[in-house]
Subunit: 430 residues, 2 copies
C-alpha cells in the first residue's frame, strides 16, 4: 500500500510505503529520524540502527533537504511526532538526490530571493497552508453559488476596445486590431444575467497599473455574481451571506492551516451576517471627526478604510458613493442624485476593500448620458445598451477580489504570497 | 413572494409575483397567454379577459418579444403548459418595453448574425441549456477533485518567454519585456505537484492560431491535474474515472437540458470506466487496415481519430505516441524508446480528442537533452529543471479541454456555442 501522508491514520499497525521529500533529519548514532512531506501532510520516519539493514542506515546518512524517497515501514500513532504519525522504517529507497546547494535553507531569505525561487518556496509548510486555504475558499465559492441555483459563466479575457481606459494590457488580434485583457467580466455578466437569471464569473482579471502596494497584483482572480431583479439591498444581503459562508467554511475545514499561519481565529469567528452599513456621507463625517482630511466627493483611501472599520468585529459596507468617484454603470440614487446605489465591503482589521458592488443603471437614456459624460466610445457599448433597450431590468452584482479575501482570512499583510506565481510590476518570472 | 420560475412548484395555490421576459404571446380574444422566461425556467401566464382589470388586458396587447414584465397571480400546476406551471394572472406591470426590431426573431438566422448578437442569442432555450450543462460540468470538475483531496492551483496567464513557440499572444509587460498568454498551466502545475502532491488547474488558455475548424477557439478553458507519484497507468485511471464522473453528473442532474438539446442520452449512458486502450503502433495498423494513409510517426488527424473510435461505446485511449509527435516533457517509454508514455483520450461518436496526458520526463539529463533537441532556450527552463535537480519524482498529468468535452456531451458539432462569448480568428466581439 502506498497511501498519502494525510491518509496514514487509516493504516495504523500496517506496513505501508510512503513517497515524499525529506524536510529534516537528525540522528543520535543509534536512532535516526527523517521528517517527510508529500504535499498532503508530514510524517516522521524512525530508523533504529540495530533493526534496519546496514545499507538502509548508510543511505539515511545521504539524505539531504528535499531528497525524494520511498520509505517502507509500520505506521504508528505518535502524538509527539510532527503530523501525529511515524513510520518504523524497514526499507528506504532514494528516488531523487538533492544537491546540498538547494536554494531555500532553514534560515531567513529576502523576499526577492524567495519570489525568484517561488517554484521551490511553495514547498514550505507556510506556503502550503496558504494554498490550501485558497483552494478551500475557491471550492466554497462554487458550492455557495451552486447551492443557490446560479449558473457559472466564463466571460472573455480577450475583449475589443471599450474606451480609452488606462491600465490595460493589449495584444494584436489577427485582423481584428488590438485586443485588451479584461479588467472585469461584469458587462458580459449583465448580458448573462438577462439570459440565465442568476450567474457568477470566476476568472483572472488584469490591471497594467504601475502600483507597487501590498494590495496590488497585475493578474488576480475575481468572482463576479450578477443577479436579475436584485436591487442594491438584495445585493448587499447576498454579499454578507457570501462572505460569512466563505469564512465559516475555512474555519470549519482548515483549522490546521490557520494554526500553521498563526492566525487569530477569534477575529474570524465573529464574521456573521448582517454587516453594518455606513452611508458614504456619514462615513466622511466620521472620518473627519477622527482627523482624516477626506472631503465629500473623494474616494476613500486605504488609510480612511482602516480608520472607518476600527471597532467593528466584521466587515462593514460603505454605501452610496458620489457618482464621480465610481464607474459609469452604477445606478443613480433616487434619494440623492449626487450619489449612486453602490457599496464597498471593507474587511475588518484594516484589510480594506474586498468587494465592490452596485445596482446597475437600467435606464437607457441615463446610461447613454453617463457614457457621453465619461467620454467613452458609444459604438463600443452598442451591445451593452441593448440590455437596456430590449426589456430592461433591475439588476445588481459585485466583484470579490479573491487574493485580498484570502490575504485577510489568512492574516497576511501582502497579497504576493496568496497566489502560486504572483505577477507584479517587476515580477513576471518564474 | 417573488419566486424564480424554477421555484414555482413550491408555490402551487399561492399568489406570487414573477419577473421575467416575454418569449411568446397568443390570444383568442377572451383568453390570452404569455410565456415568460426568467433564466431559471419558463412559465405560462394566463389572462382571462372577464377576470382581469381592463388596463391589464390592454397592457397584454402591448407585450412584444423580450418585454420585461412583472406578473402577479396564482400558481397552478398545468402539465400541458410549457414548464409545467401557469399563473392565473391578476396583475401585470410592464417593466421594460422591447421595440419590435428585437434582432432575434423566431426564424432562422445565419451564424454570423447570431454571433454578432450573442448577448441576446444567449436568451434562447437552446443556449441556456448549453450554458447549464457547462456550468454543471464545471461544478462536477471541482467536486471530483475536491473529494479526492486535490488542491486547486491557479497558474499564471502572463508568462515570460519559454521559447520561440508559434501561436502565442503577446503583450508588453512594463520593463520586463514581452509577456505571453499561457497556452497551458502544466509546467507550473508540475512545480505545484511537488509542493502539494495532488493539484489541478482550471483556467483560460490561449492559442493565436489561424485555425477555423469547428474544434478551435483562440480562448478556451482547460482543466489540468498533475499528480506526484502517478505513473502513466495511474494517470489513465484518473482520466477515465474523471470523464465517467462528469458524464454521470450531467446525466443525473441535467436531463431537461439534454432533452432540450435533443441529445441521444443512450450514447452517454455507456460512458463508464475502464476505457479501451490502443497502443499507437496498433492504432496505425488498424487505421491502415481501414484505408487511412497514416504512417507510423504521424500524429493522428481528426479523421483518423473518428475512424479509430468507430464501434466503441465510450472514450478510447491511444497510448505511446512517437516522441517526435509529442511535446518535449513526456517521458521516454522504456519498452520502446522511439515512443513516450502518453495518452490521448478520444471521445466517441467522432468528437475527437478531449484529453492529452502523459507521464513527465523526470530524468534531469534526458529532459535537458530534449530541450536542446527541440531548440528551446535552456535558461528559460531553469526553474523547471530544478524540479528534476532537487528530489526528482515520478509524476503525471493531463489536460482536458472544457469546450470540447461540453460539445461532446451536448452533442454539438461546433464548439462556438459552448462558451458564452466565443473568441475565434475573426471573432473578438461582442
Amino acid at each position: 500500500m502506498t497511501p498519502r501522508i494525510s491518509e496514514l491514520g487509516a493504516h495504523v499497525g500496517q506496513r505501508v510505503t510512503v513517497r515524499g521529500w525529506v524536510t529534516h533529519v537528525r540522528s543520535s548514532g543509534k536512532i535516526a529520524f527523517a521528517v517527510l512531506r508529500d504535499g498532503t501532510g508530514i510524517a516522521q520516519a524512525v530508523f533504529v540502527k540495530s533493526q534496519v539493514p546496514g545499507e538502509v542506515w548508510e543511505r539515511f546518512g545521504t539524505l539531504t533537504l528535499e531528497t525524494s524517497v520511498s520509505v517502507t515501514g509500520e505506521v504508528r500513532a505518535e502524538p509527539r511526532a510532527p503530523g501525529g504519525y511515524e513510520l518504523g522504517v524497514a526499507a528506504l529507497e532514494v528516488i531523487g538526490a538533492s544537491p546540498t546547494d538547494y536554494p531555500i535553507q532553514p534560515k531567513e531569505h529576502g523576499i526577492d530571493f524567495l519570489l525568484d525561487h517561488r517554484h521551490l518556496w511553495l514547498r514550505s509548510a507556510r506556503q502550503r497552508a496558504i494554498a490550501a486555504v485558497r483552494s478551500e475558499l475557491e471550492q466554497a465559492v462554487h458550492d455557495f453559488f451552486y447551492e443557490r441555483g446560479f449558473l457559472r459563466v466564463d466571460t472573455p479575457i480577450l475583449t475589443a476596445a471599450i474606451g480609452e481606459r488606462s491600465g490595460l494590457f493589449s495584444t494584436e488580434y489577427f485582423e481584428e486590431g488590438t485586443a485588451y485583457l479584461a479588467q472585469t467580466g461584469q458587462l458580459y455578466g449583465e448580458a448573462a444575467a438577462a439570459a440565465f437569471g442568476k450567474i457568477y464569473t470566476f476568472g483572472p482579471t488584469f490591471r497594467a497599473e504601475k502600483s507597487k502596494t501590498r494590495r496590488h497584483l497585475t493578474e488576480f482572480w475575481m468572482i463576479e455574481p450578477e443577479v436579475a431583479w436584485y436591487d442594491s439591498n438584495d445585493n448587499m444581503r447576498l454579499q454578507e451571506d457570501f462572505v460569512s459562508f466563505l469564512v465559516a467554511r475555512v474555519l470549519e475545514r482548515r483549522q490546521a492551516e490557520l494554526k500553521e499561519l498563526e492566525r487569530d481565529v477569534s477575529k474570524l469567528e465573529t464574521v456573521k451576517a448582517p454587516f453594518p452599513r455606513i452611508n458614504y456621507t456619514d462615513a466622511v463625517a466620521i472620518l473627519q471627526g477622527k482627523g482624516s482630511a477626506v472631503q465629500w466627493g473623494d474616494d476613500l483611501g486605504a488609510e480612511d478604510e482602516a480608520l472607518l472599520v476600527e471597532g467593528y468585529d466584521r466587515p462593514v459596507f460603505v454605501t452610496n458613493y458620489p457618482k464621480e468617484a465610481k464607474a459609469f454603470y452604477m445606478k443613480e440614487n433616487p434619494d440623492d442624485p449626487r450619489t449612486v446605489l453602490c457599496d464597498d465591503c471593507l474587511a475588518p482589521e484594516g484589510y480594506g476593500e474586498i468587494i465592490g458592488g452596485s445596482q446597475r443603471e437600467d435606464d437607457y437614456d441615463r446610461i447613454v448620458q453617463r457614457i457621453k459624460d465619461e467620454g467613452l466610445p458609444m459604438d463600443a457599448y452598442g451591445w451593452y445598451l441593448d440590455l437596456r433597450k430590449y426589456g430592461t431590468f433591475t439588476h445588481s452584482g459585485f466583484g470579490l477580489g479573491l487574493e485580498r479575501t484570502v490575504a485577510w482570512i489568512c492574516g497576511l499583510q501582502h497579497i504576493r504570497e496568496v497566489i502560486a506565481f504572483p505577477r507584479m510590476m517587476y515580477r513576471l518570472r518564474p
